[in-house]
């Protein structure tokens, strides 16, 4: 019962201009025990996140926009459609990553079109995952590691010394690889990794990169192939 309570703390903001897709993603997320808020546009998403469209990424100076309120509800992940009128999912992703208050929030992009260049662009801009629509329950299993990582990072930075901070930040990329590759949430606390373990992870990273290339090539085949490849944000690791 305790586990269920912890899981329900994760709050996802879902952005999609299609009513049907909003209903679907909401049901998918609720079935996976997340709290959900749905909005139908990028600008409403930013509003909800406490950032007006014209806001400079400086949370310390109060914005003159009447819509700006500091984020009252914590959002652990944003999942957004790519193709939306006005602000696209990509634009929203950029705005979030450019904002110093919001850039730690993991962003996932959804699209009905399998366009490798689009997928790459999103991943390079900092999207954690790129899901092809229709999104399935199994896709959502990939979300938890991203949300846990962020929650943990917030907690650590809140209470730790600077030294510990830099350790955590070093660990984060490796933790992400580990989570991306295995897709199953490991224990919540990042243990200090031994060197050999890091080497293993780097080897796995090589493999994962190869897999990623392969899936992009698969993506170029006729779109009727619904065995959709999945894309993880591994590219950002140094």
């Amino acid at each position: 019962m305790g586990m269920a309570a912890a899981e329900s703390q994760f709050h996802v903001l879902a952005v999609d201009d299609s009513l049907i897709d909003r209903k679907l993603i909401e049901r998918l997320l609720k079935t996976s025990s997340y709290q959900v808020t749905t909005v139908d546009s990028g600008s409403k998403a930013l509003e909800f996140l406490g950032l007006s469209e014209t806001d400079e990424s400086n949370p310390s100076t109060p914005s003159v926009s009447p819509n700006n309120h500091h984020q009252e509800v914590e959002v652990n992940l944003v999942i957004t459609d790519y193709c939306m009128p006005g602000m696209t999912g990509y634009d929203l992703l950029k705005k979030i990553k450019e904002s110093s208050s919001l850039r730690n929030i993991p962003v996932v992009i959804m699209s009905s079109e399998n366009v490798p260049s689009r997928i790459n662009r999103c991943l390079e801009e900092g999207a954690e995952e790129f899901f092809l629509k229709p999104v399935r329950l199994s896709d959502l299993n990939k979300l938890k590691p991203h949300m846990k990582k962020t929650k943990l990072k917030d907690q650590k930075q809140g209470t730790s010394e600077k030294l510990e901070n830099s350790e955590v930040q070093q660990l984060q990329p490796q933790q992400q690889i580990q989570n991306d590759l295995q897709g199953v949430p490991k224990s919540q606390d990042p243990q200090p990794e031994s060197e050999s373990h890091l080497e293993q992870q780097q080897q796995s990273l090589q493999q994962a990169n190869n897999n990623k290339r392969k899936t992009i090539e698969q993506g170029l085949s006729p779109e009727t192939d619904r065995t959709r490849p999945r894309y993880s944000g591994i590219a950002t690791v140094v």
Binding site: I20, D21, R27, T31, S112, K133, P134, L137, R226
Partner: protein, 179 residues
């Protein structure tokens, strides 16, 4: 008690087809279940529906008992608007706007597992890229046909499901005594 079923003409004819007496309603529920599965299997085989439709059904549970019908009603409502608009836009040769409508229809059709409708949208969209008016007209007609067929079949599916739920909930005096 039998009067309840006599007034339900559709249910009657369903059961009459099977040649079973009305009182064997427990079996009737199973037969309706079989009918539903037969129709679903047919629709899958014909490529009218795909796996996504099953995903939709799986999302329905006690917490959200009418999820599928809610989503489908939204789908029908939106699609009919889009189809009407498409015809108007085609008359005015507004190919760009048609593409926007088609993307929307394609997205929602794919989301509910309407495979044939989605495929026709793809072909239709290609015709708009080529500003091929004759091709677009043909595609629109096909789209309207596929959509109508889908809607009818889904309504049929729902009817069977409703009857099955109704029948499954019936208690007969004889059955009550046995419990």
């Amino acid at each position: 008690m039998n009067k309840i079923w006599l007034s339900s003409g559709v249910l009657n004819s369903q059961l009459a087809k099977t040649g079973l007496p009305l009182w064997m309603l427990g079996l009737g529920a199973d037969l309706l279940w079989a009918d539903m599965n037969r129709l679903l299997a047919f629709l899958f085989h014909q490529g009218v529906l795909d796996e996504q439709f099953l995903q939709l059904q799986q999302l329905q549970d006690e917490a959200s008992p009418n999820f599928v019908s809610e989503v489908l009603n939204i789908y029908f409502h939106e699609s009919e608007k889009l189809l009407t608009n498409l015809r108007g836009l085609l008359m005015e040769r507004e190919y760009k706007k048609m593409e926007i409508h088609l993307n929307q229809l394609m997205g929602s059709s794919s989301s509910i597992g309407a495979k044939r409708v989605t495929n026709v949208c793809v072909a239709f969209r290609a015709a708009t890229h080529h500003t091929n008016r004759a091709g677009c007209l043909h595609a629109l007609e096909m789209l309207e046909h596929e959509y109508c067929y889908l809607k009818n079949k889904l309504h049929e599916l729902f009817q069977i499901e409703q009857q099955r739920a109704l029948v499954a909930g019936v208690r007969y005096p004889e059955q009550n005594q046995n419990q």
